[in-house]
């Protein structure tokens, strides 16, 4: 019993440390003060500022860019990665290991390396950096994770079900569509979600491939903003919203996963 109290206390202290920054931001998102730490009375002005696209155009722009880039990159990596996973699954052991290694390079490299290497690529080829290069860069580091999400589903699939489909009269393409695809769909979905998150959260790769034409994502916006000194107050409600949304999503996903297990 004592053990349990100790344990829970430890957890709560850690949680306190982990969440105090966020809590502070959330609290101070409800006040108007420019500087964090000043409480000038409860107000939702920052929220209304944020949601009115008139004011703080660039922040909303950055947010929209972040989301669209993420959606495009996630979709492309899911397609590319799922097809690749099926191909890899059919390879002989030695080739599979080699391809697996190439696949894991973007994962093992720090994102700064991926960013710089792509920067050098675009610079050498004379490609101007902007939206397209960022999307390509995101696809580069998202696809390996999709492959790693889909491949295990293929491995734990009963290998006979493909043959069973053929045996029952399906052509190879039909068998693929009707039997293999439903099996990997969960892997594709979790791969997509993962790619989406990685893309939204990314900073290092984006900053090297975004160019100087004024394109901004959430990460680069905050970075530029913070460097100028003094954080834009509207970032507080934005951070608060992001935290709440992610928390809600995670809880919902966990509930569904728990139900599925039963």
């Amino acid at each position: 019993m004592v053990k349990k109290i100790f344990a829970q206390t430890y957890l709560w202290i850690l949680l306190l440390l982990l969440y105090s920054p966020i809590v502070i931001i959330i609290i101070y998102s409800f006040t108007e003060a420019k500087v964090l730490g000043n409480w000038t009375g409860f107000s939702t002005k920052l929220y209304t500022n944020l949601l009115h696209t008139g004011t703080h155009h660039s922040l909303m722009n950055a947010l929209v860019n972040t989301i669209t880039i993420a959606l495009i990159a996630a979709t492309a990596s899911t397609l590319l990665g799922s097809i690749a996973a099926i191909g890899i699954f059919n390879l002989k052991a030695r080739t599979r290991k080699a391809v697996g290694f190439v696949n894991s390079i973007p994962i093992l490299n720090g994102d700064i390396i991926t960013g710089i290497s792509l920067f050098l690529l675009f610079v050498s080829l004379g490609i101007s950096q902007g939206y397209v290069t960022v999307v390509l860069a995101h696809i580069t580091f998202c696809t390996p994770y999709v492959v790693l999400s889909v491949l295990p589903r293929l491995k734990q699939m009963n290998p006979n079900i493909y043959e069973a489909a053929l045996d029952l009269g399906a052509t190879p393409m039909q068998a693929l569509r009707k039997v293999i695809f439903p099996e990997i769909r969960p892997g594709m979905i979790s791969g997509f979600m993962l790619a989406l998150t990685l893309s939204i959260d990314d900073f290092a790769v984006t900053v090297f491939t975004i160019g100087n034409e004024g394109l901004e994502t959430l990460s680069t916006y905050i970075y530029a903003d913070a460097r100028k000194g003094g954080l834009t107050p509207e970032l507080r409600p934005l951070s608060a919203i992001i935290f709440i949304v992610v928390l809600a999503l995670l809880i919902v996903l966990n509930r569904r996963a728990g139900k599925a297990k039963k």
Binding site: N160, E163, A164, L168, G169
Partner: protein
């Protein structure tokens, strides 16, 4: 009738064979799974392909189903060659060992899968699926999830999924292997019933010889990629063609014997009357006696053999006893119980003594004479007793008796090395088949106890090597 036949190129007689397998071989890289297999399956019969793991039975089934293509040879179904036809175009359906039900579909959709592919109208699909479910005794299970079913239920759905397509041949790959004993016995009976009701050809693969004996019209015994024997269950059981089949099917006593003349054989140091003829005079033979065919009783004059009981095990239906007679250990099964160390007599009726021709009486190898005291065979040079009358470099035949080959634990101490592939107990010694690293079998008689798969060193003393000149 026969006027149509010339056009199609066959007559009514031939058409009775629904599956024709002609000289089929299959290799995976340098590993041969099937070696020149020829087999005919008659329409409507229940054929079981029986053998130990690795004998090639599953490969053969998969070739018929189309999941693998032959390296050599031709397969015909209903007279049509289908060797290169992909599986989805063949008129066969398979029931897999691990059921392979589609996890994302319920029972109804699983069974309807093949019908939907053929674009069968919805009404008809429903009718057929319901009929199939009834046939396997799973009515009312239509909308259940497959992972909520037990093993036996899943197996039945797998069978329903296959038969609903009304194939000409149903292939079953050890379908009952994953079920417990009671369930297996029940399903065996149900399968036999289904076979009768459906009237289609069943090709069944298993390693369980009891299952094969229960279910089949015809049994095909396979080992190491080759067919050993084809016959009815009674044929295979009562008249095994060689020691492999005799040993694989049921329990047997397999002993060395000498056929003195027709209907008279000598083994265990005693002469017996038997019913087989045509083996010649004083020919070495293998004698097979089923344990249940031996009568065991307290010692008396009626006994043909006398001995001492070495062990007794209660098997439920009967007792299994090992009796030592004249240095030979004989396995006996009987309802009567005799204690260890009891003196007993054994008797066997002439009809129950089965004689098999020996496949070989000694090891025979092709070799080359190196010099007067050295001969090369099995890829190694052996020292031998000096040979006259043969020139150096000439090809020769080398003979070595089974009991003159020595096997060593330490591979390096042998002239060559190999692996123990098959162990046959002959009552007073073991007759081993050792697959040497020269890819040839070496047969050894020994009293040492070895295990399947043991790696051994092989040596042969020089004076046991008989070099024989090849006379044209």
């Amino acid at each position: 009738m026969c006027t149509f036949a010339p056009q199609i190129g066959m007559n009514m007689q031939e058409y009775k064979s629904i599956i024709e397998i002609s000289h089929v071989s299959k290799s995976f890289g340098d590993k041969t799974a099937l070696d020149d297999v020829t087999l005919e399956v008659k329409k409507g019969e229940f054929v079981t392909i029986l053998g130990p793991s690795g004998c090639g039975k599953t490969t053969l089934l998969r070739l018929i189903a189309g999941f693998q293509t032959t390296t050599e040879g031709v397969i015909r179904i209903s007279g049509q060659e289908i060797t290169q036809t992909p599986p989805h175009k063949r008129p066969v359906n398979t029931v897999f060992q691990k059921y392979a039900l589609f996890p994302h579909l319920n029972v109804f959709d699983n069974i309807a899968f093949g019908l939907k592919l053929k674009k069968t109208p919805k009404q008809l699909i429903e009718k057929k699926v319901k009929a199939a479910l009834k046939m396997v005794g799973m009515t009312d299970y239509e909308y259940r999830d497959v992972d909520s079913l037990s093993g036996g239920q899943q197996q039945r759905v797998a069978i329903a999924r296959a038969i609903v397509n009304e194939p000409e041949v149903l292939l079953l790959d050890e379908p009952l292997a994953a079920l417990d004993l009671k369930m297996r016995k029940d399903m065996q009976m149900e399968l036999k019933e289904m076979h009768k009701r459906l009237g289609i050809t069943f090709v069944y693969v298993t390693h369980d010889q009891e299952e094969a004996l229960t279910l089949s019209d015809t049994i095909v015994v396979m080992s190491e990629g080759k067919i050993q024997q084809i016959g009815t269950p009674t044929d295979i059981y009562n008249e095994p063609i060689n020691s492999f089949v005799a040993d694989f099917i049921g329990e047997s006593n397999i002993l060395n014997g000498t056929m003195l003349c027709d209907q008279r054989v000598r083994f265990c140091g005693v002469e017996f009357e038997c019913v087989d003829k045509g083996f010649g005079e004083n020919t070495p033979v293998d004698v097979v006696i089923r344990p249940e065919d031996l009568y065991i009783f307290p010692v008396s004059d009626a006994a043909q053999l006398t001995g001492v009981v070495k062990s007794t095990v209660f098997k439920g239906v009967h007792y299994e006893m090992v009796v030592l007679c004249n240095g030979y250990e004989i396995l006996v099964q009987d309802y009567h119980h005799f204690e260890v160390d009891a003196n007993v007599g054994l008797l066997v009726k002439p009809f129950d003594i089965h004689i098999m021709k020996k496949e070989r009486v000694c090891n025979t190898f092709e070799g080359k004479l190196i010099d007067a005291t050295h001969v090369e065979f099995l890829g190694c040079t052996f020292e031998c007793a000096s040979v006259d009358g043969v020139n150096e470099g000439e090809n020769v035949i080398v003979e070595v008796d089974f009991d003159k080959v020595s096997l060593l634990d330490n591979e390096e101490d042998g002239t060559l090395t190999g692996e123990v592939k098959f162990i046959l107990y002959k009552g007073d010694h073991y007759h081993l088949t050792v697959f040497s690293d020269w890819d040839e079998n070496v047969f050894v008689d020994t009293n040492d106890v070895w295990d399947d798969g043991d790696r051994v060193g092989i040596t042969i003393p020089p004076d046991s090597i008989r070099v024989i000149k090849i006379t044209d």
